[in-house]
Symmetry: C2
Subunit: 342 residues, 2 copies
C-alpha cells in the first residue's frame, strides 16, 4: 500500500499517530454544492446509486472539497435487501419504501442469500474500482454495510419508522425464524463486504442505525452473535462497528474482533472508553447540530471533544452530517481537528 495519507489506517492499526484522522458520515452528499449539482441533473437517488462513474465522482468530492482523511463509497445500506429480492424506492423527503416485505415466515425462504445475491451488486463493485483509480491513493476508501438487525428492520417494516414495532413484533413472535432471517442477511452481508474488499475498499464500516430500538436483552441475545460472525469472518481489512444508540451493549462489543467502535453524540467518551476497554479505536462523536453554531463555538466544542477522547480516536460526528449544514461549519470542524497535535 502506498497511500499518500494513511493516517486513518495507521490509527485503526493502533499505531502512534500525530493527530486523529477525520471524516464525516454522509460527507458524500447534500452538504456539497458539487453533489447537489449532480443530483439535480438526475431523476433521483437511485439513479445516482446505480451509476458507478457518478457514484465514484461524488465519493471523491469531499476529499477535494473538505480534505478529509478518508473517502466512503457513495452507496446505500438497502442494496443488500434489494439483492436478496426486496426492491425498494427512495421517496423524496420520506425515505425508503419497499414493494414487498417479510410479512410471514414463508417469505424468508424466498430470499436470495449469500454469494449469488451479493454478486448482483456489481454496480457497487464497479463504483469502488473507479473510485480507487481516480482517488489515486490520496486517502483510504471505506466500504460499508447495514448491520443485520437494521437490514431486517427495513425488510420487515418496509419503510422507516419511529418504533420499528412491526419488525420487533416479528422478532418477538417468531424468534427462531428471525434468527434464520438474520443468519441469511449476515451471510449475504459477509459475501458482499468481501466483494467490496476485492474491489478495493480499505476498511469496512457496519451501520446498525436502529440498534436503539432494541432492548439490551434482545440485542445481546440476537444481534451480538451476528456482529461477532461478521468480525470473525471478515479478516482482510479493519472493521468499524457503529451501533447507533447501543450504549447499553458496549460491554458486549468489547469482545468483538473489530478495530473501531463508532459512537453517537449521546455517549461521553470516558463512558465508552471504560466500557470498551483500552484497545479499540473510538470513532465520533460530535453532535451534528454543533456545525450550525458559530465557528468559535465549533472550535471550542471540537477541542473539548478531542481532549475528552485523547488518543485512539477517529474524529467524526455522532450521526451522518445533516443536509443543510453550512459548509463553513463543516470546514471549521475539520480544520480544528487538523490543527490538533497529540
Amino acid at each position: 500500500m502506498s497511500l499518500k495519507n494513511d493516517l486513518f489506517l495507521r490509527t485503526l492499526a493502533g499505531q502512534e499517530v500525530e493527530r486523529p484522522p477525520v471524516w464525516l458520515m454522509r460527507q458524500a452528499g447534500r452538504i456539497l454544492p458539487q453533489y447537489r449539482a449532480i443530483r439535480s441533473r438526475l431523476g433521483g437517488f437511485k439513479e445516482l446509486l446505480f451509476n458507478p462513474a457518478l457514484a465514484a465522482e461524488v465519493t471523491i468530492q469531499p476529499v477535494d472539497e473538505l480534505d478529509v482523511d478518508a473517502a466512503i463509497i457513495f452507496s446505500d445500506i438497502l442494496v443488500i435487501p434489494e439483492a436478496m429480492g426486496l426492491d425498494y424506492s427512495m421517496v423524496e423527503k420520506k425515505g425508503p419504501l419497499f414493494d414487498k416485505t417479510i410479512n410471514e415466515v414463508a417469505d424468508i425462504k424466498k430470499l436470495a442469500v449469500g454469494q449469488s445475491a451479493a454478486e448482483k451488486l456489481d454496480y457497487v463493485f464497479e463504483a469502488i474500482q473507479i473510485t480507487k483509480k481516480e482517488l489515486d491513493d490520496r486517502v483510504p476508501l471505506i466500504g460499508f454495510s447495514g448491520a443485520p438487525w437494521t437490514l431486517m428492520a427495513y425488510m420487515v417494516e418496509g419503510q422507516g419508522s419511529k418504533t420499528f414495532a412491526k419488525a420487533k413484533k416479528f422478532l418477538y413472535q417468531h424468534p427462531k425464524e428471525s434468527e434464520a432471517l438474520l443468519d441469511s442477511i449476515t451471510e449475504t452481508l459477509i459475501a458482499y463486504c468481501k466483494l467490496k474488499i476485492k474491489a478495493g475498499v480499505d476498511v469496512i464500516q457496519i451501520f446498525d442505525s436502529w440498534a436503539s430500538m432494541l432492548s439490551p436483552d434482545i440485542y445481546n441475545r440476537f444481534m451480538i452473535k451476528q456482529l461477532n460472525r461478521i468480525c470473525t469472518e471478515i479478516t482482510e481489512v479493519p472493521i468499524i462497528l457503529f451501533s447507533k444508540g447501543a450504549w447499553f451493549a458496549l460491554n458486549e462489543m468489547k469482545t468483538l474482533d473489530c478495530q473501531g467502535i463508532g459512537l453517537d453524540w449521546n455517549t461521553k467518551p470516558a463512558f465508552a472508553r471504560a466500557a470498551i476497554g483500552p484497545d479499540k479505536i473510538l470513532q465520533g462523536n460530535a453532535d451534528p447540530c454543533l456545525l450550525y453554531a458559530d465557528p468559535s463555538e465549533i472550535q471550542q466544542k471540537t477541542k473539548e471533544m478531542l481532549s475528552a477522547f485523547g488518543k485512539k480516536h477517529i474524529v467524526n460526528l455522532g450521526h451522518g452530517v445533516y443536509p443543510d449544514t453550512p459548509l463553513l461549519g463543516v470546514k471549521t470542524f475539520i480544520k480544528t481537528v487538523k490543527e490538533h497535535k497529540y
Copy 2:
C-alpha cells in the same frame, strides 16, 4: 386521602409495599376497544381532547378494563404550546402539525406565558375534576406535562422529526434566546401543573420525550436547570421525571428533587440504580414490543424485570404502549406484576 388503592402513592413516598404498582403510558388509548369506539364516533383526536366528559371517560377505561394501579388523565403534551399561542392540529397517522412556529428570536416575545396562558386550558382542569369524581377514589390520578425541551422542540420544529435538527439549530445559533424560551415554557408549565394539582391530580409526570436528541453537554447545560426549577417549585405532589433516552444524564438527575425517574427500555435497572442512587423510585421499563410475544414469554421476561429492579419500583413499559398491542399481552403483563410478592 381515602384512596381504596394507594399502592402507587405509598411507593412514591418511599414506603415499604407488598408489590410494585403497575400502570402503562398511553393506557388511555387505542389498545382499548372502548377507546376506539369513542374515537370512531368523533372527528379526531382533538375533539376528544377538548371534551372533558369524554376525556374523563377514556381516562377511567383502563382502570375498569386493566385494573391498573393508577389512572393518567387523557390529554396531550402539546396543550402548553397551544396555550402559549401556537395552535396545532393532529394529523392522522402523521402526528402534530403546527400552523405557526418559533422561526426567529422575535417570535418568542409574542408568546403568552405563565398563569394567564395556563388558565386557558380549562378543559383539562374540568376533565380532571370529572375524572376524580367518577374515579371515586379507586386509584390515584396522574397529571402530566411535556418537559421544556420537548415542548421547545415541537414549537420550533413545528412537527415530529427524526432529528429535531431545526430546533437544535435554534439552540446552537441562539443560546441566550433559547434559554429565554425555555424559561417561558417552564413558567407556563409550572402554572399549568399547579392548576392540575388544584383540580385534583395526585402525581405529576414530566415527559421529556426527545431528550435523546441532545448531547450530554447541551442537556446538562440547558435542560437540567429547567427540570430543577420544576422539581423545586412543584412541591404539592410527587413528581416522576421521564427523560426518554437521557441515560447519559441520570447522574445529573440524581440531584433533582423528584420522587420518581422513568426509564426507557434501553436502560438496564442496575445501571439506572447505580447512577441515580438508592433513594428515588424507578419506573419502567419493559420493551413495549414484549407485549406482542406469547403469554409465557411475557411472564418470564416480566419476572426477570421485576427481579432486576427489586424494590422502589413502579412497573411500566419503557415507552407508551403501542396502539396495536393485543389486550391479552397487556393483561398478562399486568397480571404477572400483580402476582409478584416482594
